[in-house]
C-alpha cells in the first residue's frame, strides 16, 4: 500500500505562474475545485436574455459579414476524399460566386491526413503564418474520442503539423477528467502543445476541445476551461460536433466568462470556439452578441473567436442575399461544398 503521491506535472508557464512552483496533481485539483460554482438556471437565463437582442439593418449586415470571417469551414467524415476537401476549400475561398464581395472564411477544418490536400487546394490563399489568407486547422489526438495512447495522439499531431496545419484542434481525455485525473489531462495538453512546435521554432495554434456534452455539468466545463488554459491552450473549444449536445449558448457564455476572468487576472486573451449545432444566422448572431456583451467586441476577431460549422455558411449567405436584394432567397442560390 502506498501513500498517494503528489507527482509534479509537466511544466506549463501559466500554471506555474498562477499556482506556484510546486505544481502537482493535488495543487492543481485544489485550484480547480476552488473555482466558483455555476448555477445552471441563472446561466441559462442569462444566455436566453442575450438571445433576445434584436440585431437589425446595419447591425445585421455587419454581423453576417463578421460571422463568415469567423467560420472554420469543416468537413470531418470518414468518407472524406481529396475531392471533397478540394470542394470545401473552393467554397471557403469563394463562399458566394454570385457576390464576390462576400468575405472569406477564417479557416478550413479537416482530419489530419487531409491537411496536405487542403494546403494544396488553397495554394496562395493559404495564410501559412501571414495575417491574411485562410488557415488550415486539423483535428488531432485520436479525434473525436481521444481514446488512444499518448504516443499515438502525439504522432497524430506531429503528422498534421508537418503536413502544413496552422492550427491543431485537440481533444482532452474526458475519461481521465471524469475520473478526477486532472494532472493526466493537463500533461497531455502540455505534450500536444509541444508537438505543435515546428522546426523553425514557431508553434501551430492549439485549440483544446473540452467536449462539453460529455463533461455534462457546467462546473466541469468551468474547471476544464481553466485547466486547458493553464496547460497552454490558445483557444478553448466546446465540442467535436460528434456528440450531442454540441455547442450551446449557455456553455459558450460560461467559457467566455472564464476567458474574461483569465484576461482580468493576467492581461492575456484566450480564444473561444463553439462548434457543432450552430446552423442558422439567427443563432450565430446570438453568439456574437454574447461575445460582445461578455468579453467585449475586441474578441470578435479570427484569432479570438471561431465558429466550427458547415451548414451555417449557407444560411448566412441566404440572409446576406436577402439584405442585398430585398427578396427571400433559396437553396439553389447557394453552393454545396
Amino acid at each position: 500500500m502506498t501513500a498517494t503521491k503528489n507527482n509534479a506535472l509537466a511544466p506549463a508557464e501559466r500554471a506555474v505562474e498562477l499556482i506556484g512552483g510546486d505544481l502537482t496533481e493535488k495543487s492543481l485539483r485544489l485550484h480547480l475545485e476552488g473555482l466558483p460554482g455555476v448555477d445552471a438556471v441563472g446561466l441559462e437565463a442569462r444566455a436566453a436574455a442575450l438571445g433576445t437582442r434584436s440585431i437589425k439593418t446595419t447591425s445585421k449586415a455587419w454581423a453576417l459579414d463578421k460571422i463568415i470571417g469567423l467560420i472554420d469551414l469543416t468537413t470531418l467524415e470518414g468518407a472524406d476524399t481529396p475531392g471533397k476537401v478540394r470542394s470545401l476549400v473552393a467554397k471557403a475561398m469563394t463562399p458566394d460566386p454570385g457576390d464576390l464581395s462576400t468575405p472569406r472564411v477564417a479557416a478550413v477544418c479537416v482530419y489530419g491526413d487531409m491537411v496536405a490536400d487542403a494546403v494544396a487546394a488553397l495554394g496562395s490563399s493559404h495564410s501559412a503564418g501571414r495575417d491574411d489568407g485562410i488557415n488550415v486547422a486539423a483535428v488531432a489526438t485520436a479525434f473525436p474520442s481521444g481514446r488512444a495512447s499518448l504516443e499515438v495522439k502525439l504522432a497524430d499531431t506531429t503528422d498534421a503539423v508537418s503536413a502544413g496545419a496552422d492550427e491543431i484542434d485537440m481533444v482532452i481525455d474526458r475519461g481521465a477528467f471524469l475520473a478526477g485525473h486532472y494532472g493526466r489531462v493537463f500533461d497531455q495538453i502540455v505534450a500536444v502543445k509541444e508537438a505543435c512546435r515546428r522546426d523553425d521554432g514557431t508553434y501551430a495554434h492549439l485549440k483544446v476541445i473540452l467536449e462539453t456534452g460529455e463533461l455534462t455539468t457546467y462546473d466541469n466545463v468551468r474547471r476544464a476551461s481553466w485547466l486547458a488554459i493553464l496547460a497552454g491552450g490558445d483557444f478553448i473549444k466546446t465540442s467535436t460536433g460528434k456528440v450531442a449536445p454540441a455547442a450551446t449558448l449557455p456553455v459558450t457564455l460560461l467559457m467566455l466568462q472564464v476567458v474574461g476572468d483569465w484576461h482580468r487576472l493576467t492581461g492575456e486573451k484566450i480564444g473561444v470556439k463553439p462548434a457543432g449545432g450552430i446552423r442558422t444566422s439567427k443563432d450565430a448572431i446570438k453568439y456574437l452578441v454574447t461575445v460582445a456583451e461578455t468579453v467585449g467586441e475586441e474578441w470578435l476577431q479570427p484569432h479570438l473567436f471561431r465558429f466550427g460549422a458547415s451548414s451555417l455558411l449557407n444560411d448566412v449567405l441566404l440572409q446576406r442575399q436577402k439584405l442585398s436584394t430585398g427578396r427571400y432567397s433559396g437553396p439553389d442560390y447557394v453552393t454545396m461544398d
Binding site: 448555477d39 441563472g42 437565463a45 433576445t52 437582442r53 439593418t57 446595419t58 460560461l254 460582445a292 467586441e297
Partner: protein, 491 residues
C-alpha cells in the same frame, strides 16, 4: 462601427388602436366622468397619449352601485364554473392581444418593451388562467367548506406594473365570486382601459368589473365608500397606513401590499456570475420601480471588491433609452415626481458620505431618465440604506458572518422580499428560515408566478396575492365563528 451600438430595433406602435378620449368603465360601458379630465403622457418623450376621464364622488357611487347590482343579481348567483369560464375567456383574449397590450404598457409606463412583452403581459394572462380554474374549486382552498364571497371589492393599484397589478387584483376577486371597482394609477391608466375593451369582448356581465380612472381623491372616495365590503391596496406604506386607519372598525376586510427595502445577500461561495446577474436584475429590472427590488446589496466583506468590480463591468452593458426599442434594458422613470424623489435620495446618499457610481450613459433630452447607479461605502444608518428609493439605485453594504447578514437584512420596518446567493444548500435554507420576509429568492430574483403567494411581513403590508393563499383575501371562511361586533364600535 461599434457592433455594440446596435442599430435601432423599434417595436411599432401601429398595432395600437387608441381613442383620443377615454371615459370611465362602469356597468359594462364607457361613460363620461364628472371630474376634470387629465392627460396621460409617455414618460420617455413627455408627449400626450390620450385624454383620461376623472371620477368624482358621484362617479365612485355609480361604480360601486353597478358593482353591487351585478353582485346581487348576477355574479353571486352564478356557478363557480361559469365564473371560471369568463376568466378563461379573459385569459385567452389577453394572449390574443398580447402584443398590443405590451406596446401600450411600455408607451404609457416607460418600461422596456422587452419586459412588458416577456414578463408583464404573459404573467397577466397566466394570472387569469390560474384563478379561472379556482372559481369552481373553492371548497379545496383550505378555508372550510363552501366559503362565501364578500361582495364588492374596492381596489387601488400602482403605476409600476399597471396591467399586472390589475390582474393580481381582479382575477382572485372574481374567481371568489366578488365584483370589483378598481382604480388604476393616475400616470398609467392606458392598459386598464384597453382591458375594459377586452372585458366587452369577453361579454363579461356588466358591472362585474368597473374601472374608474382618477387620482388620489378618487382612490380615497373609493376605499371609504360605505357599500364596499373589501379593500385591496398596493402602493406606498404611507398611504397603506392611512387606509388602515380610515377603514378601522368599518367591517371591511383589508389587504395591503406596500413598500420594501429588500436585502440581496451574496455569500463568498455564491455562483459569482449568476449572482451578478441577480444583483443587476434585482435593482435595475423595471428601473427599480419594484416594491420587492433588491435595493440593498449585502455582500460578504471578503469578496466585496471583486463583486463591485464585476458589477460595474456588467452595468456597462446596460442600455438605457427608448422603451419601445427591443434592445433597451432600462427605460424611463415613470413621472417627474418620481424622478425628483430618486434624485433627492441619491443626493442624500452623497451627502451622507457614500460613494456614487454610474456607467457612462447618454440620456435623452426629453422625458424622465436616471442612469443606473450604485452606492458603495453605505452604512446601516444611512438614509439610502433605510428609505425606499423606488428607482435604479443600489446601496451596497457588507457583512462578515451569516448571522450578521441576517441581522442586517431584518433590521428594517419593511419585510417584503430577500435574496440569498450561495452554493451551499444548507446555508440557503438556514438563512431563508431566519429572514423576516414574505418572499425569499435563492440563487434567483424577481420570480413571479400566479401559483406562488406574494406579500410582506411588518410594514410591507399584510395578506398574500397569488396561489391558494391569494383567495383568502376575497372569501369569508365558514370555519370562522366570530360574528361582527357593533357594541362600542365607533364609525
Amino acid at each position: 462601427m461599434s457592433f455594440l451600438d446596435y442599430a435601432p430595433a423599434p417595436e411599432s406602435t401601429a398595432i395600437l388602436n387608441l381613442r383620443e378620449n377615454y371615459g370611465l368603465f362602469i356597468g359594462g360601458e364607457f361613460v363620461e366622468g364628472h371630474g376634470t379630465p387629465f392627460s396621460t403622457i409617455s414618460p420617455a418623450t413627455e408627449k400626450h397619449i390620450a385624454q383620461i376621464a376623472n371620477a368624482d364622488a358621484s362617479d365612485v357611487d355609480a361604480a360601486v352601485a353597478a358593482a353591487r347590482r351585478a353582485y346581487d343579481r348576477t355574479w353571486s348567483r352564478m356557478s363557480g364554473s361559469d365564473r371560471g369560464k369568463y376568466l378563461f375567456r379573459i385569459a385567452r383574449l389577453v394572449q390574443e392581444r398580447a402584443r398590443e397590450l405590451a406596446v401600450a404598457e411600455s408607451l404609457d409606463n416607460g418600461k422596456p418593451i422587452k419586459e412588458s412583452r416577456d414578463v408583464d403581459i404573459p404573467l397577466v394572462a397566466a394570472w387569469f388562467f390560474y384563478y379561472a380554474g379556482w372559481a369552481d374549486k373553492l371548497d379545496y382552498a383550505g378555508l372550510g367548506p363552501a366559503p362565501r364571497s364578500l361582495g364588492v371589492a374596492a381596489q387601488v393599484i400602482p403605476w409600476n406594473f399597471p396591467l399586472l397589478m390589475l390582474a393580481w387584483k381582479i382575477a382572485p376577486a372574481l374567481a371568489a365570486g366578488n365584483t370589483v371597482v378598481i382604480k388604476p394609477a393616475e400616470t398609467t391608466p392606458l392598459t386598464a382601459l384597453i382591458f375594459a375593451e377586452i372585458l366587452q369582448q369577453a361579454d363579461l356581465p356588466p358591472g362585474v368589473v368597473n374601472i374608474i380612472t382618477g387620482a388620489g381623491d378618487t382612490g380615497q372616495a373609493l376605499v371609504n365608500h360605505t357599500d364596499v365590503n373589501k379593500v385591496a391596496f398596493t402602493g406606498s406604506t404611507a398611504v397603506g397606513r392611512a387606509i388602515a386607519r380610515s377603514t378601522a372598525g368599518s367591517g371591511k376586510k383589508l389587504t395591503l401590499e406596500l413598500g420594501g427595502k429588500a436585502a440581496n445577500i451574496v455569500f463568498d461561495d455564491a455562483p459569482i456570475d449568476q449572482a451578478i446577474e441577480g444583483i443587476v436584475n434585482g435593482i435595475f429590472f423595471n428601473q427599480g420601480h419594484v416594491c420587492c427590488a433588491g435595493s440593498r446589496l449585502l455582500v460578504q466583506e471578503n469578496i466585496h471588491d471583486e463583486v463591485v468590480s464585476r458589477l460595474k463591468a456588467r452595468m456597462s452593458t446596460l442600455r438605457v433609452g427608448d422603451p419601445l426599442d427591443k434592445n433597451t434594458d432600462v427605460g424611463a422613470i415613470n413621472s417627474r415626481a418620481q424622478l425628483d424623489r430618486i434624485r433627492e435620495l441619491s443626493n442624500a446618499g452623497v451627502d451622507e458620505g457614500a460613494e456614487r457610481w454610474s456607467p457612462a450613459c447618454t440620456l435623452p433630452d426629453a422625458g424622465f431618465w436616471f442612469a443606473p447607479t450604485i452606492f458603495t461605502g453605505v452604512s446601516t444608518s444611512h438614509r439610502i440604506a433605510r428609505d425606499e428609493i423606488f428607482g435604479p439605485v443600489l446601496s451596497i453594504l457588507t457583512f462578515r458572518t451569516p448571522a450578521e447578514a441576517i441581522a442586517k437584512a431584518n433590521n428594517t420596518p419593511y419585510g417584503l422580499s430577500a435574496g440569498i446567493w450561495s452554493d451551499k444548500g444548507s446555508r440557503i435554507l438556514g438563512v431563508a428560515d431566519k429572514l423576516r420576509a414574505g418572499v425569499v429568492w435563492a440563487n434567483t430574483f424577481n420570480q413571479f408566478d400566479p401559483s406562488s403567494p406574494f406579500g410582506g411581513y411588518k410594514e410591507s403590508g399584510y395578506g398574500r396575492e397569488g396561489g391558494r393563499h391569494g383567495l383568502a383575501a376575497y372569501l369569508e371562511s365558514r370555519g370562522w365563528a366570530a360574528p361582527a361586533v357593533t357594541k362600542g364600535a365607533r364609525k
